[in-house]
């Protein structure tokens, strides 16, 4: 089976007192629709955005994104 990029953004947002997509979007400098597309696995972000997301949640990159 082909590998794909998966992410834990929904769970990480939930752990941060249900951070909204809009709040995360504002902090990483993209639109809410882009956060939604990343969360649903429909769009793979650039490395820079991926690092910004992990920085917002204060966790290493591999806890946000996995390739499996």
């Amino acid at each position: 089976m082909a590998k794909a990029i998966q992410n834990n953004i929904r769970r990480l947002r939930f752990d941060r007192k249900e951070m909204t997509q809009q709040e995360l979007a504002d902090r990483i400098g993209v639109t809410r629709q882009t956060v939604n597309a990343i969360e649903l696995g429909k769009y793979s972000p650039s490395l820079e955005i991926a690092f910004r997301i992990s920085e917002v949640f204060g966790v290493p990159l591999d806890q946000v994104f996995q390739y499996r």
Partner: protein, 141 residues
Amino acid sequence: MSFREKSAWISFICILIFGTLYGWHAVDVEWLHARNGNSVAYVFGTMAALVVLEIALHVAIAVQSPRDARTPKDEREQLIDLRASRVAFYVLFIGTLASLGLGMHLPGANRFLMAQLLMSAIITTLLVRFGIQIVLYRRDA
């Protein structure tokens, strides 16, 4: 629906209206010889009216969601633009070549017909570009 998607819809519909009016006029003038008015004035008048309409509609959606309107395009939106423009480029390329070929070799062809065909290629290109943008925004791509 995001600000960018609304913007793409507005552009698509305005160009569709312009294309329809333009095509109607071109058929009238070129094949039916039904109008004696100034074609250039008609085309540029219609175009100017639709540009004003498009600006007014963009202002309206910007007032509805000012923050989205102020935010520059992010990387996903830029990618959507690029993907749509890439396909549109081929449409323009093929449309231009076809217009030149037809404009030179069709019986009774003249500069006016070639201009009509080139204009049609440009309108089709823009419709394809905004159409693909809408599809990609709809699919959350």
